[in-house]
């Protein structure tokens, strides 16, 4: 009886692994079962620069864009654009109060929450001026399928004067965005993109490669050769995050820095602290690279609790981290994925309705917060809650600061 049960256990596991192995018809993917899949994982993790997420041309362009001088008013970075190619929008010109529709991927993290508040405040301005009569929002809660339905519903209703889309996943939303373009309404895509150029304008900061490279270069510059860096990541398979890591991995692999591990944390502080603590038990960690700053403070505290010196740290422009950074005076960088980009789509819609030209690809500036800017940014945001983003770009909106402090 026992023996047959054990055999069954083996058979069942084998069957599962077998099905796993059978199903991989991916041309470039090695067949994976239990062990082979593990090997594949290691291969993939070692070859960031060769991974499917790494496109050399995009990488080069983004790194170059970091030093480019953007066109537009310097005090309004959300209206600046890097190397714009303008398209004509006269066909969309419209008078009177317009209905603006927004399909949002989600508000499931503080970065998106902050940005969405900024967007709503910008909408209030245009409502006051009578340019927007109605602002409709569909939130897909990170479900691509629901977002496809949301976009279809906007198209179906037919009364949107412009459709703004913040896609949840690049590849999967492409058909739905193309369908929206075909409806003849102006479509504005921002944040993550889609594999199409049918929209009037695609708004985004420089991008994930630049973000990852900013942090990686900072670590390489500030660490001795041979230092050990731990990479903390949110979750696998999300393009913007994978690009960040691909760039960092390339830079690390070309330097004398050793990456001791890359871990997926889900942005959960408890998990981050646990993982960092474990790495510290195994040996020293000299630097931390993060693909998004959620939970950065927990990582810093892990060093404090273990009685280790502070690492060279790459966080984000999130205030809880920046306050910790100021308090501890460690060597750090606050990478920025420009949160003010949430304002731009509304202003782009305004321009399009006015028949003004807009950039076909509207690349917003994106520059990290360094030790020199730190105090200024903290002073400017001193009343903001801890999970707020320093470069949110809403200081001149009428709702400031209550809309963000009392959200």
């Amino acid at each position: 009886m026992r023996r047959s049960r054990v055999l069954m256990a083996g058979a069942a596991t084998a069957a599962l692994l077998f099905t796993a192995a059978c199903s991989t018809d991916v041309p470039d993917a090695p067949a994976g079962g239990g062990e082979t899949a593990a090997e594949a994982g290691e291969e993939a993790s070692e070859s960031g620069a060769n991974s499917e997420w790494f496109v050399q041309a995009d990488y080069d362009r983004q790194l170059a864009q970091r030093t480019a001088v953007p066109e537009g008013p310097a005090e309004q970075p959300w209206l600046q654009a890097i190397d714009p190619e303008y398209v004509d929008t006269a066909q969309y010109a419209k008078e009177g109060g317009k209905k603006l529709c927004f399909s949002n991927a989600s508000v499931s993290n503080p970065w998106r929450v902050t940005g969405f508040i900024t967007m709503q405040q910008q909408v209030e301005v245009l409502k006051t001026s009578g340019e927007i009569s109605e602002f409709r929002v569909s939130d897909a809660a990170d479900d691509d399928n629901k977002q496809i339905s949301d976009i279809q519903a906007f198209v179906e209703a037919g009364d949107c004067d412009a459709i703004i889309i913040s896609p949840s996943t690049t590849a999967t939303l492409t058909p739905a965005v193309e369908a929206a373009c075909e409806s003849g309404k102006p479509v504005i895509v921002f944040d993550r993109g889609v594999n199409s150029d049918c929209m009037v304008t695609y708004i985004h900061p420089i991008g994930g490669y630049a973000y990852g490279a900013d942090g990686a270069e900072f670590l390489v510059e500030n660490l001795e050769p041979g230092s050990k860096v731990l990479a903390l990541r949110i979750l696998p398979g999300v393009d913007v995050l994978e690009n960040r890591w691909a760039a960092a991995d390339k830079i690390f692999s070309e330097s004398d820095i050793e990456v001791v591990g890359q871990e997926f944390t889900g942005g959960d502080g408890a998990k981050i602290k646990d993982i960092v603590t474990q790495y510290l038990q195994r040996g020293d960690v000299d630097g931390i690279w993060m693909d998004a700053g959620d939970g950065a403070v927990a990582a810093v505290e892990a060093f404090e609790d273990a009685g280790k010196p502070y690492p060279v740290f790459m966080g984000e422009d999130e205030l809880s981290f920046m306050r910790k950074w100021q308090e501890t005076d460690m060597t750090a960088l606050g990478a920025v994925y420009s949160n003010f980009q949430w304002r731009t789509p509304i202003l782009a819609a305004q321009k399009i309705w006015n028949g003004e030209q807009v950039p076909a690809e509207w690349v917003l500036p994106q520059s990290p917060i360094t030790g020199e800017d730190l105090d200024a940014y903290l002073e400017a945001n001193k009343d903001m809650p801890s999970l707020h983003y320093a470069k949110f770009g809403g200081e001149d909106l009428p709702g400031y600061p209550e809309a963000w402090t009392n959200r």
Binding site: T19, T24, G41, E156, A171
Partner: protein, 373 residues
Amino acid sequence: MSTAVSTASPRAGSVTSGPRRRRLGSTGIVYLALVGILAVSAGLVAAQGGSFFSQGNLFYLLSQTSLLGFVAIGQTFVILCKSLDLSVGYVVAWSSLVAATTMAGDPSRIWLGVVAALAVAAGVGLVNGLVISKLRVNSFIATLGVGLIIKGYLDTQYKGPSGEIPKAFQGFGYTRIGPVPVSVIVLAVVMVLGVVLLTRTRPGYHMFAVGGNIDVARLSGIRTDRSIILAHVLCSLCAGVAGLLIAARFGTGNALVYTYGYDLNSIAAVVLGGTLLMGGRGSILGTIAGVLILASLDTVFNVLDVSPFFKDVLRGAIIIAAVAMYARRQIDPASSRARFRALGRSVGPGSGPDGGGPGSASPTSTTGKEATR
């Protein structure tokens, strides 16, 4: 409403008893709840000057229905057998990837992709069924574990969306006839097949019997293991169809589909539809009503522009309230818990909990649960 009658489960011989009338009532109440929610939704939307039953809203409702519908139909088979499947989300994700990578944008490989995706799904169902019936691992842990195994595989193997679905097959996700998406027609076919299986065939009867009381079912000569394995294979196959639909809508496969909560939502839909989590009672038409209730909520929240956080609050409260409406009714007055129905009669006042299940003659009180962990 009369269609609900036809799904009244076969009472599966000796296993479950109870007046037929109450079952009709149970499915009936589910549809009443659905009508109520639709009426309230229509009223609220009308108050804002809109029409809930506009073509766009109906289309939204139906396309939200079809995807969860496939998964929930599959989940119904499993829950009827007093099991459950937490791996469905991972199966949906995996089959979408298998379909997309197999088709690789080539229209001539559509059927190959469909067969490959369904084969993978069926394979997972077989493993689930074997682990649960042969290894006697509790279905919760078994399917959770299998789900984790698939998650590990998907995360390692596919970094993000992969593969390409040919335009011809994307029609499965986008084509519609009037306001009715093709996927809903396919859902209706699957639903009819499921209803026929459960109400007109021997394997269907056996599922009710196994869910009602597995020991009695076994004593009656039913090969209970087969029923459980069959239910799990069917469940995973339905999830596989959902994966095909996802792939058709996305134009590619995506591993992160497993974060969409189909496991949780499908179980909620099945229970909303009046199927007992303790097994042995329920119907596919009820499940469809449960799915429609959830999809109606999604639609009305969307039309009314409800804040995403408030949506969760309302959804949670409505699910509890809806189930509370008919939860009492579903339960035999003779017993406060349905799983003791067969037992209740043999246990008189005064006898301890050691009364044991049927078939447990041993004084060591190894009632059914002993080996189910």
